[in-house]
C-alpha cells in the first residue's frame, strides 16, 4: 500500500469521515421532515405496509409460511428498478404518497446548503 500515492482529496475524505461528519450529515438527511412531521423513513414504512398488505390479500400464505424468505423477496422487489414500487399508486389510499426515492436522495444531495456545509467542515478540518 502506497501511502504517498493516495489522492489527497481522498485522504481528506477519509479524515472527514473519521471525524464523524459524514455520518452526521447522513442522519441529517434521513431525518429531514419532508411533510407533516414525517421523515422519509416513515413515509417509506407506510408505503411498504400498504404494499405488503396488498400482497397478502392476494396470497394469504405469505404470512404463515416462510416469513423470512418472503420478506427478503418482497424487499428485493421493492428495491428493483429504482424503487419502482414505491412510486406506484395502486391504491386509493391517500395516506401514502408515491415516493421517488432516488429523486429524493439526489435532491437532498445536490442541495447547495449541504454543499456549503461540507465545504465548511472541510475547511475547518485542514
Amino acid at each position: 500500500m502506497d501511502k504517498q500515492n493516495i489522492d489527497p482529496a481522498q485522504q481528506l475524505v477519509i479524515d472527514f469521515k473519521r471525524q464523524g461528519h459524514f455520518d452526521k450529515l447522513k442522519n441529517q438527511i434521513l431525518s429531514n421532515n419532508i411533510e407533516n412531521d414525517q421523515n422519509i423513513q416513515d413515509l417509506i414504512k407506510l408505503k411498504i405496509i400498504e404494499i405488503v398488505n396488498q400482497m397478502v390479500s392476494k396470497d394469504e400464505s405469505l404470512i404463515f409460511k416462510n416469513r423470512g424468505i418472503n420478506s427478503a423477496l418482497i424487499e428485493s422487489k421493492i428495491i428493483k428498478d429504482d424503487y419502482k414500487l414505491l412510486q406506484n399508486n395502486e391504491t386509493e389510499n391517500d395516506s401514502t404518497k408515491n415516493i421517488d426515492l432516488n429523486k429524493f436522495i439526489n435532491d437532498s444531495l445536490n442541495d447547495s446548503t449541504l454543499y456549503d456545509e461540507i465545504l465548511q467542515i472541510l475547511n475547518s478540518m485542514d
Binding site: 489522492d7 482529496a9 447522513k26 405488503v52 420478506s71 436522495i105 454543499y115
Partner: protein, 1216 residues
C-alpha cells in the same frame, strides 16, 4: 599265430603298388591262385556253392574281370588263366568296373592285379599252414567282405580252372575257394601296410589239423585247404526245394498290404539291377511357405549383464538433464531452479543411489541442471570373484540404472513440472554433455551481455525521448518526437506518440503496439497475441484503428515483455502461411492529465513522472485548495448517496417488510385460519372416535376384565334410571363423544365414592341421590308401595293419579333422557340387573320431587304405553298381566327378597303377598323393624352382587363356580393361611384359566395412541382416515417372495458398502413372523398369544437365542438349575448345537407346552444356517395362546417329572 613267414620281395603285387589292398590280402595273393586252382580242380561251378549265393552272379563278372586283369598283368603265371578267360573278359569292361566302386559292393574294391598276383605266387606254400588266415576269415565270414573274397576266388572258375598252374596250387592257394581280399580305397595307412611285407598279415596256420575235426559235419570251410568241405553233402537249396516258386537269384520277404491283410511276399532278388537309394524315393516335402521378410528386427529381451556376459561392464550411472524442448521448458522458466534433492528422491524409486551429483557451471557457479546418479546398494559386500569381478551390488546397480533409463525412453520424465531426459552414462557421456552445456551457457551469457548493452542504450534513448516530450506541450507532439527520433540512434525504434484519443482508449496504460498495416496484411488477430504473450502480464489486447495494442498495467511489465519479445516474437502470418517476425513498439502512457486549471509552476515535474497511482492511475494533483476541497466534496457526496441508499434499504425497507408480514397484523386472516384449524381437528376427532367406536363394538362381546371385580360401579342412580324395559336404545355417536368427553372412568364412580352422590349438583344426580336415600329403607318403600297401591286402587282419578302418571311420565322421561347414561355404562348394563320394581318404589318420591320441579310435562306417549298394560285383552282364559318370572312353587329355587320384590308387580300382587306373609303392621316390633330393614337391604345387596359375580363367572367360564367356593362356611380370611391349589386358582383367576379362548388381556396399547396422535397434530393437512399404507398381502407365498427380494437388496447393498457391517444384517425369518405377543398365561406364568388369526401350516415365529455347542449347553443347564432358574429355555437344533434363550432371545421362548399343541417346531436352513421355526399345526384363532409339544424325554425319576397344566383332554399330566 604260428609264425610269420615272410614272403619274398618279389611278389608280383609289389610291382603293382598302385593298387591298395589290405595286408592280409597281400598274403593271400598267392592263395588266390590256389583257390582258383582248387576250384578248377574240383570243377565246382560257382552256382553250386550255396552260402555265397548272393553275390555270386556279380562275382562272376568280377571274377572275370579280375582274372582279366590278373592275366594282363602277369604274364607268366596266368597264361593259362588268361587263355581260358580271355574271351570272356572284356578288358574295357574290366577297366570300367574298376574305375569306381560298385554300389552293391562293400566299399572294398577289387584289385585284379592283386588277384592275379595272388594267383601267380606259387611260392607261398607256407600260407597253408597259417592259421591266422583261417581265423581271420572265419571271423569275417559273416561279412560280405569275406564272402566276396571267397566268391571272387570261387567264381574265378567258370568251369574252368582259374588257377595258373597246379603246382602252384599249393603255393598260390591251397583253398578251394580262396578268399579274395577286397581292396580298400580309403585308408592310406593300409596301403602302406600292404606294401610293407613286414606288416603284412601273417599267414594262417591250422593247429589242429585233424581230419576228423575238419571233416566233421558242420564245418564247411577247411582253412588249410581253403575249401569248403561237405560240399558234396550240400545241395543247392533251390534244387531241393519242393517249392519251385522260390526265385533262383534269391528273395527277400516284404510285407504286402494289398489284399488288406498283411502277408509276407517273396520278392526275388535282382542282383543285376543296381538298386536305388530308397531315401531318394521318399515323398518330397511340402513346399514351405515362403518366409516373409520382417520389417522390423525382432526385439529380444534385454540380457542382463552377468558373469557369463562378455564385453565391457554396462554403466550403472544415469545422466539426468533438462530437456531442451522449448515448449515444455521455456527459457524464462529455466531461471527457476529445480531442487536437486527432489530429483534425487525421484530416482530413488528405481533403486538405492550411491552417488548423486549436481553439476555446476565453472564459469559462473550456476547449476547446469545436469545430474549424475549412480545406482548401487551401499553395503560392504566383498567382491565376488565369480561374477567377473563385479559385486552383487554393482549388478543390482547396473540393473537399476538400466531400468531407470528404459523407463523414460517411452514416456517423458517430468519432475516438478520440468521435463528431463535420462541417459545412461556410457563412455563418459557425462563429460561431453557437461562441456556442451558449459559452452552453451557461455554463449548465451555473451549474447545476453550484448543484448543488455543494447537495452541500456535503448532505455537511455527512451528516457531522452520522454523528457523531451514532456517539455513540449502541444498536441502536435508527433512531429517533434519524430524529429527527435531521427536524432537518436538509427538502431533505435521509432518512438511514436499517439493521439490523445488512442491513449484514452488504452486507458492511459503502457502498451505494446503493432502497426495497423502490418497487422492487416498478415491478418494478425488478437488471439494470436494473447497466445504468444500469455506468459506476460498484459491486461488487454485491443484491436483498434491505429493498430493492435497489448496494454499492461504498469510500465515495468510492459517493458519487460517488450524486451523479451522484441525481435523474437513470431506470429503466424495468414497471408504468407509462415511465421514472421513481428515488430513491436512500446507505447508509454502519455504524460499525466492535469486538472482544469491552467499550467502552474507549482506542479513539480517529479511528481508527474515518477509516480504511478495505486491502480496505475496517475495521482491527481490539485492546484488550489479550492480544487482540493471541491474534489473532496464531490467524493463525499458520492459516498453519501451510496450510504443513504444502503441505509434506507437495510434499516427501513427491510424491517418494515418483515414486520408487516407478521400474522398478528392480519387478525381477520388469522381468525379465519384458526377457524379452519378447529374444523379440521374436529373432523379428525370424529374420525378417530368412529374408529374407536368400531373397535369397541368389536370388543363389546368380550368381557372387560376391569369391570369384573367391580372396581368401579356405576352410580346407583344411573342404574336405577336404566330401569325400564324399553331400554334398548341404540348407542349413537353423539353418546360416544359425550362419553369420551367425560371423566376418565366414564362417569363411573368407585365404590367408595358412592356416598358422594349426595353432593352432585346435577339435577339428575340430585334426584338420584334422594332416591338413593329412600332406597335404603326398603320397608318404608314397601309401605309406601302399599299406600300407593291403595291409592291407586281406590281412585284412579285421585290427584295422585295424575301424579302417578306424571311419575311414570317423569320416570320415563328421565329414563329417556338418561338413556345416555345407559350408554355410558355400555357393556356394564348387563352387570346390574334391571329393577323394574324400583319404579314403583321411587314413584312417590318422584312425585314429591316433581312437584318441586316443573316436570309436570307429561309425555303423552308414555302415558299411553303405561295404560296399555292394563288394557283388557281378549283371550279365552284370563292371562296374568305380568308374566311369571319364576315358578313360585319350584322348591329348588332359592328365592331371596330381591326376587320376591321383583315378583310383586302391582298392588294386587302386594296384597296377595301380604296375605301370604301375614304382615301385620300392628304387630311389628320396632326394634326388629330396624334390623329388618337392614337385613333386607343387606340381603338385597348380597343377592345383587352374587348375581353379578355369578353372571360374570358364567360369562367367563360357562359354568358356575366350583363347589369349593360356593359352600364356604367361613370366610376366606378366617380360614387361615393355606396354599390354594392350582386347580382351584384356575377357576377364579382369569389368567389361570385353562380355556382356549383367552381373555382380552392384551392391551391394544399402540392402536389407541395412534388415534390420539392424529388429534394432537396441528399441521396435518388432510383430515382423512389414516390409511393403512401396507398393502394387504393375501398370499404368504407372495409375501415370502417379496421378503426374499428385500433380503437380496440388503445383501447387494451390503456388498456395495464392502464392509461386513452388522447394521445391514437382516434376519429373513423376521419377515414371516406373525403378530404375536406375550401375556399372562393360564398354563404357566407367561405365554405367547396370537394377535390375529393364523391359518394352519404357516410359520409363526422363529425361536431365537444364543447358539451354543452341546457341552456348553450341558454346563449351562446345570448352572441355571443351580442358580434357581427352574425353566429351561434350551432348544436343540441338532446333536451338536443348542439354542439358549434363557438370558438372550426372542419372544418365542414364552410359548408354553401343551399335550395337544397348536404349533410345532421345525428346523429349517436359512442362509446356510439351521434355525428353529415354529409352524402352526392348525388354525389358530384370535388371542389364542400358542402352544407346542416340547418333546421332552421321558424321565424315570419321579422327582424329575414336571406336571403339565395344559388342560388338554389328552393331557399326559407331565411335561416329561
Amino acid at each position: 599265430m604260428s609264425g610269420y613267414h615272410r614272403r619274398s620281395r618279389n611278389t608280383p603285387y609289389e610291382a603293382s603298388s598302385k593298387h591298395s589292398f589290405s595286408y592280409h590280402r597281400r598274403q593271400q595273393q598267392p592263395k588266390a591262385s590256389r583257390y582258383e586252382a582248387a576250384i578248377a580242380n574240383q570243377n565246382i561251378s560257382v552256382d553250386d556253392v550255396r552260402p555265397y549265393q548272393r553275390s555270386m552272379n556279380y562275382q562272376e563278372d568280377n571274377s572275370h574281370n579280375l582274372h582279366n586283369n590278373h592275366k594282363s598283368n602277369n604274364n607268366n603265371s596266368n597264361t593259362k588263366i588268361s587263355n581260358n578267360k580271355k574271351n570272356t573278359y572284356n578288358s574295357s569292361s574290366y577297366h570300367k568296373d574298376y574305375s569306381r566302386p560298385k554300389k552293391n559292393h562293400s566299399r572294398y574294391d577289387y584289385v585284379p592285379q592283386e588277384r592275379h598276383s595272388y594267383h601267380s605266387n606259387p611260392e607261398d606254400s607256407s600260407y597253408r599252414n597259417e592259421g591266422n588266415y583261417y581265423s581271420k576269415t572265419n571271423n569275417s565270414s559273416s561279412r560280405d567282405v569275406n564272402r566276396t573274397r571267397y566268391d571272387t576266388h570261387r567264381t574265378s572258375s567258370n568251369g574252368t580252372s582259374t588257377l595258373t598252374n597246379s603246382k602252384d596250387s599249393n603255393s598260390s592257394t591251397r583253398y578251394f575257394n580262396p578268399p579274395k581280399a577286397p581292396v580298400l580305397h580309403s585308408t592310406g595307412s593300409r596301403t602302406n601296410n600292404n606294401n610293407d611285407p613286414i606288416l603284412r598279415r601273417p599267414k594262417p596256420i591250422l593247429k589242429y589239423n585233424n581230419n576228423e575235426l575238419f571233416t566233421s559235419k558242420y564245418h564247411y570251410f577247411n582253412p588249410l585247404s581253403k575249401t569248403l568241405i561237405h560240399k558234396d553233402l550240400m545241395k543247392n537249396w533251390h534244387e531241393n526245394e519242393k517249392d519251385k516258386n522260390i526265385p533262383r537269384a534269391g528273395f527277400i520277404l516284404t510285407s504286402d498290404n494289398s489284399t488288406g491283410k498283411l502277408r509276407s511276399m517273396i520278392t526275388p532278388r535282382t542282383p543285376n539291377i543296381p538298386s536305388k537309394d530308397p531315401r531318394t524315393n521318399r515323398i518330397p516335402l511340402k513346399p514351405t511357405r515362403p518366409r516373409y521378410p520382417r520389417p522390423t528386427l525382432k526385439i529380444i529381451p534385454h540380457l542382463p549383464y552377468d558373469k557369463h556376459s562378455l564385453g565391457p561392464i554396462p554403466p550403472n550411472e544415469i545422466i539426468v538433464y533438462l530437456s531442451p524442448d522449448l515448449t515444455s521448458n521455456s527459457i524464462s522458466e529455466n531461471f527457476v531452479s529445480v531442487q536437486p534433492l527432489s530429483i534425487k528422491n525421484y530416482f530413488k524409486t528405481f533403486g538405492s543411489i550411491s552417488h548423486f551429483e549436481s553439476l555446476i557451471d565453472p564459469n559462473n557457479a550456476l547449476p547446469l541442471h545436469l545430474f549424475l546418479i549412480r545406482f548401487d546398494s551401499i553395503s560392504d559386500n566383498a567382491i565376488d570373484s565369480n561374477n567377473n569381478g563385479q559385486s552383487h551390488n554393482q549388478m543390482v546397480g547396473i540393473r537399476n540404472a538400466y531400468k531407470a533409463y528404459k523407463a523414460y525412453q517411452q514416456s517423458d520424465c517430468y519432475i516438478l513440472g520440468k521435463k528431463f531426459k535420462v541417459e545412461l552414462n556410457e563412455n563418459n557421456k557425462l563429460l561431453e554433455m557437461k562441456q556442451k552445456i558449459i559452452e552453451q551457457n557461455l554463449r548465451s551469457s555473451q549474447a545476453t551481455a550484448i543484448s543488455n548493452s543494447n537495452k541500456d542504450k535503448i532505455s537511455n534513448t527512451n528516457s531522452i525521448n520522454n523528457s523531451s516530450s514532456k517539455d513540449t506541450n502541444s498536441s502536435t507532439n508527433n512531429t517533434s518526437l519524430n524529429n527527435q527520433s531521427h536524432e537518436s540512434d538509427s538502431t533505435q525504434w521509432k518512438k511514436r506518440l499517439f493521439h490523445e484519443e488512442i491513449h484514452k482508449q488504452l486507458n492511459y496504460k503502457p502498451a505494446i503496439f503493432v502497426g495497423r498495416r502490418f497487422a492487416t496484411i498478415h491478418r494478425l488477430r488478437v488471439e494470436d497475441f494473447k497466445i504468444q504473450l500469455r506468459k506476460y502480464r498484459w491486461s488487454r489486447v485491443l484491436d483498434i484503428s491505429a493498430g493492435i495494442f497489448v496494454t499492461f498495467n504498469d510500465l515495468k511489465s510492459a517493458q519487460n515483455c517488450f524486451d523479451m519479445e522484441q525481435g523474437t516474437l513470431k506470429l503466424l502470418s495468414r497471408q504468407k502461411n509462415s511465421y514472421i517476425n513481428v515488430r513491436l513498439e512500446l507505447v508509454e502512457p502519455p504524460p499525466f492529465r492535469r486538472l482544469k486549471s491552467s499550467l502552474s509552476s507549482t506542479v513539480s515535474p517529479t511528481e508527474k513522472s515518477a509516480d504511478s497511482g495505486i491502480n496505475g492511475k496517475p495521482v491527481p494533483t490539485y492546484e488550489s485548495k479550492d480544487d482540493l476541497l471541491k474534489a473532496a466534496v464531490k467524493i463525499i457526496l458520492k459516498d453519501l448517496s451510496s450510504a443513504l441508499h444502503m441505509d434506507i434499504r437495510k434499516k427501513t425497507i427491510g424491517p418494515a417488510v418483515f414486520d408487516t408480514l407478521n400474522p398478528e397484523k392480519f387478525p381477520n386472516l388469522l381468525a379465519e385460519k384458526q377457524k379452519r384449524e378447529i374444523q379440521r381437528q374436529k373432523h379428525l376427532r370424529e374420525i378417530a372416535e368412529a374408529q374407536e367406536k368400531k373397535r369397541n363394538d368389536e370388543n363389546n362381546s368380550n368381557l372387560d376384565i376391569f369391570q369384573l371385580y367391580g372396581g368401579y360401579s356405576a352410580s346407583n342412580s344411573a342404574s336405577r334410571r336404566r330401569a325400564l324395559k324399553r331400554r334398548q336404545m341404540s348407542l349413537s355417536d353423539v353418546n360416544d363423544k359425550k362419553r369420551k368427553s367425560r371423566k376418565l372412568n366414564n362417569g363411573m364412580t368407585p365404590m367408595s365414592h358412592m356416598f358422594n352422590e349426595d353432593e352432585s349438583t346435577n339435577a339428575e344426580q340430585s334426584l338420584a341421590a334422594t332416591l338413593d336415600d329412600h332406597y335404603k329403607s326398603s320397608s318404608e318403600d314397601d309401605l309406601d308401595e302399599e299406600m300407593e297401591d291403595d291409592q291407586q286402587e281406590d281412585d284412579h282419578s285421585q290427584p295422585s293419579e295424575p301424579e302417578l302418571y306424571t311419575e311414570l311420565a317423569d320416570e320415563s322421561e328421565p329414563s329417556s333422557k338418561h338413556a345416555s347414561d345407559d350408554s355410558r355404562r355400555g357393556p356394564d348394563s348387563e352387570l346390574t340387573t334391571p329393577e323394574p320394581d324400583s319404579e314403583y318404589i321411587d314413584k312417590k318420591k318422584i312425585i314429591e320431587l316433581s312437584n318441586e320441579k316443573e316436570n309436570i310435562e307429561v309425555n303423552d306417549k308414555e302415558i299411553e304405553e303405561a295404560q296399555s298394560l292394563y288394557l283388557p285383552s281378549t283371550t279365552a282364559f284370563p292371562e296374568p298381566v305380568y308374566e311369571d318370572e319364576f315358578n313360585i312353587f319350584d322348591k329348588s329355587l332359592k328365592l331371596n327378597i330381591h326376587d320376591l320384590q321383583n315378583a310383586v308387580k302391582d298392588e294386587e300382587d302386594l296384597e296377595l303377598l301380604k296375605s301370604i306373609v301375614g304382615a301385620n303392621v300392628e304387630k311389628s316390633n320396632p326394634a326388629y323393624t330396624t334390623l329388618i330393614e337392614y337385613d333386607c337391604w343387606k340381603d338385597r345387596r348380597q343377592s345383587i352382587n352374587k348375581k353379578a359375580s355369578t353372571d360374570t363367572y358364567k360369562l367367563l367360564n360357562d359354568e358356575a363356580l366350583p363347589e369349593y367356593f360356593v359352600n364356604m362356611k367361613t370366610p376366606f380370611v378366617a380360614q387361615g393361611m393355606k396354599k390354594i391349589d392350582d386347580e382351584i386358582k384356575v377357576s377364579y383367576l382369569p389368567h389361570r384359566r385353562r380355556r382356549n379362548e383367552p381373555l382380552n388381556t392384551v392391551d391394544h396399547h399402540s392402536e389407541e395412541r395412534e388415534s390420539t396422535q392424529e388429534l394432537l397434530r396441528k399441521d396435518s393437512e388432510l383430515p382423512d382416515v389414516p390409511e393403512n399404507t401396507t398393502p394387504d398381502i393375501s398370499s404368504s407365498r407372495i409375501n415370502r417372495a417379496i421378503n426374499r427380494r428385500f433380503q437380496q437388496d440388503i445383501d447387494a447393498q451390503r456388498a456395495a458398502i464392502g464392509t461386513e457391517s452388522e447394521l445391514l444384517s437382516l434376519n429373513q425369518l423376521n419377515k414371516r413372523k406373525k403378530p404375536v405377543t406375550f401375556a399372562r398365561s393360564a398354563i404357566h406364568n407367561w405365554g405367547l398369544y396370537a394377535l390375529e388369526p393364523i391359518t394352519a401350516k404357516e410359520m409363526v415365529i422363529e425361536y431365537v437365542g444364543e447358539r451354543i455347542r452341546q457341552p456348553v449347553s450341558e454346563m449351562r443347564e446345570k448352572r441355571y438349575i443351580k442358580g434357581g432358574i427352574g425353566s429351561s429355555y434350551l432348544f436343540r437344533i441338532d446333536e451338536n448345537t443348542v439354542i439358549d434363550a434363557t438370558k438372550r432371545g426372542g419372544i418365542a421362548r414364552f410359548i408354553n407346552h401343551s399335550c395337544e399343541p397348536s404349533c410345532t417346531a421345525k428346523i429349517i436352513k436359512v442362509g446356510g444356517m439351521k434355525r428353529i421355526v415354529i409352524y402352526a399345526l392348525r388354525d389358530i384363532g384370535l388371542n389364542e395362546e400358542l402352544t407346542y409339544d416340547y418333546k421332552f424325554e421321558r424321565e424315570i425319576d419321579a422327582e424329575e417329572r414336571l406336571p403339565c397344566y395344559c388342560g388338554a383332554p389328552s393331557c399326559k399330566g407331565f411335561l416329561n
